[in-house]
Amino acid sequence: MSDAMNIAKAVSKQEAWSRPQWLQQWQQAGLDRFRETPWPTRKTEHWKYTPLKSLTGIDWSLPEPKTSVADGIRFDDWNAIRLNIVNGELQNPGDLPTGVSLVRLSECNQEQAERFLAALEASRNDFLFDTANQAFIQDAYWLNVDPNTQVQQALHLNYVTDGDDVLSSSQIWINLGVGAQVTVVETFSAGEQGRCLVNANTAITLADNARMTHYHLMLEEGDAHHIGRVTAELQRSAYLDSFHVGIGGVLKRKDIRVRHCGEGAELRLNGVYLPKGAEIIDYHTCIEHEVPHCTSEEIFRGIISDSAKAVFNGRIHIHKDAQKSLAEMNNRNLLLSDQAEIDTKPELEIYADDVKCAHGATIARLDDTQLFYFQARGISRAEAEVMLSFGFINELLDSLQDEAVQNLLRPLLATLFAHQRSELTRHLL
């Protein structure tokens, strides 16, 4: 790649790490590929709408090791197990529930390492930042749920980044055995000060009949960038409910790819993005129906304020012979300002005939008729705008399984539209 991103400092730090030789080689391979991969430009189809200028011209380094447990995101009234991942490094986890285990890549035996790396290999794409992730992760973590284990407590992966001009990379593999069931919440936050690039990858594999509820909340504010991917592979009759939130920061880009690999697999993929100020938030999703009889339902909604920009690219790909696929995708957007911009690209690529597929996309501002209804009932225009904006995404929040997550997100998202004026959100909270 070009010298667009200056990583010399990061490389010299990485080289000084002590780790097994095979791991060092694997990371070196990632670094080599990073250097070979061209820097995305506007002509690179997958980055067409997402300028990466804010990543250039910076001497990127790696964060100092942290011993203290940063606070990050906390859920009220929820008996969730909290795993803190600070600057990409997992802090001492407490006791895990029966049937749940956590393996560090650096501590794998040969057999484990082979399986782990194979899983990571299967989840990757030819994506520049994927190679950077491989090169700069401190370690990778394999969260395993044994077959037929129903984990009662939710697992909260609390990612925190702290440091200036640092690359904070993480890689987790969540593997559910046959019939296993778990809820995993991934929250991302960053310290108030300092520029960072969070490069976070999540790989999910669900064996037959496994069920997972997944939340992926990119909540970093300030001078934070976040780029990464979520991949999932669903085997026979597996079910994944994955919910995404993108707010804050300078630039956020998440590539979500779900593969239906076993018949009868079911996916619900929803999300909201709410860029404000000069933020850029970009979700690329791709759902692969590789076998017959699978179902996908996808809804993403965005509200773009100020001079912010959002990008949504949602692809549904029905492979040859994936008959009886049902796939629906919907993307709706509100533009709240003259300077705001949205680029959306809902795509269908279909190679089987006996399928039901549809997508829809809309772009508009707040509805005049709805605003008048509020005003005709004495509610001020400003409060009506906040309530309507929030209502637009609240339809998705309402459908979340876990009240604790709703309780975290509601005030956080509602205040975004009110510019910190609490009197405008008082009827929402």
């Binding site: 959306t344 809902p346 005939d353 399928v355 549809a358 996309a361 809309t362 508009a364 501002r365």
Partner: protein, 479 residues
Amino acid sequence: MSEEVKQYIKSEYEAGFTTNVESATIPPGLNEDVIRLISAKKQEPEWLLEWRLKAYRAWEQMEEPDWAHVTYPKPDFQALSYYSSPKSMEENRPKSLDEVDPELLATYEKLGIPVHEQEVLAGVAVDMVFDSVSVGTTFRQKLKDAGVIFCPISEAVHEYPELVKKYLGSVVPQRDNYYAALNSAVFSDGSFVYIPKGVRCPMELSTYFRINEAKTGQFERTLIIADESSHVSYLEGCTAPMRDENQLHAAVVELVALDDAEIKYSTVQNWYPGDAEGKGGIYNFVTKRGIAHTRSKISWTQVETGSAVTWKYPSCILKGDDSIGEFYSVALTSNHQQADTGTKMIHLGKNTRSTIISKGISAMKSENTYRGLVRMNPGASGARNFTQCDSLLIGDQSGAHTFPYIESKNPSAVVEHEATTSKVSDDQMFLCQQRGIDPEKAVSMIVNGFCKEVFKELPMEFAVEAGKLLEVSLEGAVG
């Protein structure tokens, strides 16, 4: 599928005959001398030669686009001939239709084109383009009486140089894209239309393009200018003989609708699609674009059944406030055909409106892609777009794809996009069969129903024609 059926399908391309006339074809190859030769043959003014050369030099620097969802061996541009004309048109150029070689006119008659003004379809004026030249245009006098100019563009260069100079390349610049640049360098004939202020063109205008000669490409160029408050409806049709090698057709169409004008542009594209094995057929790489000024309207309707590979996005630049753009499309692919087609609606002016209705039908082993762009620029306050893309799959070997790009920078602009995919359902088929309708007829009825919204936009005679064309193209796709 039995040999008989295959044979049957193959024979169904009714326009696949060849006309035996002696042609003057320049040797294959492309360089500046060839461009000078083409220009000299047409006795073009110096400025136009320079214009062509500029385009050629730009083209040389460009790369063939590869983003479309189509695969084909890249054409060898040096193996093609860029100019071919029947000899009878070269020497003693005929001064009227009566003097044209009857063999040429017979070609058009055989294709069902009215070449004599007294014929039934008398409401349509026709310009007949044969390889690189126009062989004749009907109703010129009648149109002239109304102030309408309808003639081959090579003639317009001489007769109306000011208009041509002003508008040629004004909508599709020479270096717009690879094929547009190629066309700008070597374009041969096409139609030129000018409708004066306030005139409603008294009849339908149409151009019929025919490729006849082997190893040539056709590079027509069409320019339509509708002056203020005028109205015109224009239709183009096209066919080519069946040949085992691929032939290239790279056209450019430019439309200019000045204030309050309306242009309706319809296409029935039936280039030879290749045989059941995917051998032969036309590569149809076309750039069509219109610019709509204040309160004007540009409406594209296309029925695409032919060509081996189609790459085509008739577009509207909605520059003037309150201007309207429309795109109605039926694209049917069968056998090994590939189509990547759609539109661009660029909203610049206030309260501009656009509608996109696209119906894609994929049968056999074909690939059918809708690709469209809707862009709301910062100035497009109150603009609206509605897009509906539906795909119908027939059989499990084909592909149907939808790739819309939607961009908005104006909060008061409203964009709505919907797409669906379905197949001809067993229930529909059973109902028809139970009522005694044979499967092929049933499919063509269902497909016709699926396309209704688009067909109703076509001029009457052509709607019937388009329906028949679909039926023929679908032969052998079921059962």
